[in-house]
Amino acid sequence: MEATSPLAAETTKPWSPPASAGAPTPPKKTDWAKALPFVGPVVLFIIWDLVVRLGFIKPILLPPPIDALGALIGGLAGGPLMMDFVVTVWRTVQAFLIAAVLGMPLGVLLGSNEKAYRSVEFLIDFFRSTPSSALIPLFLMIFGVSDINKVAIAAFGALLIVVFNSAYGVINARKQRVMAAKVMGATRWQVFKDVLIWESLQPSFVGLRSAVSMALVIVIVAEMFIGADSGLGNRIINSQQVMNVKDMYASILAAGALGYALNVLFLLIERKIVHWSGR
């Protein structure tokens, strides 16, 4: 879906996301503001480097940041780290897709029938509050030590978040928009497809974003502890076992970068699809 219609773009400036809207400040300030997000990481790396150089922490526990970054870049550029990275991404994507494809319609349906939602609310809230890692042994019994197991448990954890957010999106839909549709003569089905689904999009996206983070967390944990032979989690725990700290930190950084990238990706998609959000 396009944020601006082509016709509108001809006559007037196209719609731009709110983030880029704060432009008209003095140019000096803008230059500074652009550099601000990099201050934190640079300071962190400087402190990290100093701590190692000055010998506060032994290099066997904490390698210099240059080494860790080197291992990260070398590993991702065709090294074995890349293979594990890809495997983790694939498992997360699978788990996420299962959760999204099942969860969004289920959540929207439950939300549009409040009695149905109230009757399963406790179950959803209970399992949503249960740390999914606590369920790993249960899933081990069902799926065995397999690739499916890791995807299944991550999908389960992510699913509940999606259902919960989509359902609440429908339940908390702006009452007045629903009334506006009703007064124009919309049937229940028309209210559902023209108003409720759209109203639920934004909270659903919040759900999807949390769900993909949750899926990544569970996949990494599962790779660490459920007899995996691949994936970032597996790589982190293996390099820790043999005290290959350079590789361990590189894998941790890779996992962090993956989580961050997924979050940003979803924010961008959300801004494109739910273009009216916050306006």
Binding site: S5, T11, W15, R174, R177, K182, M184, G185, W198, W276
Partner: protein, 273 residues
Amino acid sequence: MNAVLNAPVFADVPAPVFQPGPAGTHITIRGLTKYFAGWPLYENFDLDIPKHKIVSVFGPNGCGKSTLINMIAGLVPIDSGEILFDGKSLKDTKIGYVFQNYREAMFPWMRTIDNIAYPLKLEGKSKAEVDRRMAELVASFDVKFDLNRYPYELSGGQQQTASIMRALAPNPEVLFLDEPFSALDFEMTLFIREKLQEVFMQTGTTMMLVSHDLEEAVYLADQVLLLTKRPTKVAEILPYDDPRPRTTATLSEASFIDAKKRSLEIFQREVRR
């Protein structure tokens, strides 16, 4: 047999005989009762709304001005009573409704023009019919802004103009307006007020307008409906017959000032009661 012969006598209270309003009545309200938090807001309320007229509803705070038009428009359920439009029920009647809060009344996922065309889409009108009606509306409202934009890209006044266009798109028999100007600045209020008057002169659509601004209420009205404090009754119905189009000059005419003064007197009498 015996049991039947000696059955206790149940007598039904005879249903009140339906009294039709005077000739030219559009909306007939009989025995309307609505409880709010256990207290009667309306009890056995009768009212006739004339056809092809603008009725402004005015009254003390909390007397249920908006609730009244919401009940007539079917947005708020009534406890008992009967509301008929030319003898028909609401579901056989085409109505339009303009909300005070246009931001939460328009659908931000549709372009403005699609918002305006939405009620026609619900009626299952063909593309050609919709396009024709849109061209008509755009011409009669003399729209200067870009209807291809999303509602949130427009100013408040433009959004409210669009939501009035949406309400009028299916040629409703009655148009309800719930404080349509109170979220707008003065300039936009004047502009939309004139547009509304123009549309009324073109179409003669029956309108019910809730307003908290007495001048605005009288300026647009053929009748000012003044309500009492709750349990709400009709305090008085003041006719105001100055010819249309009314202009700024109308505001300083003796008849206008008189109508406003009398409304204010009744209003103050009711507030003090």
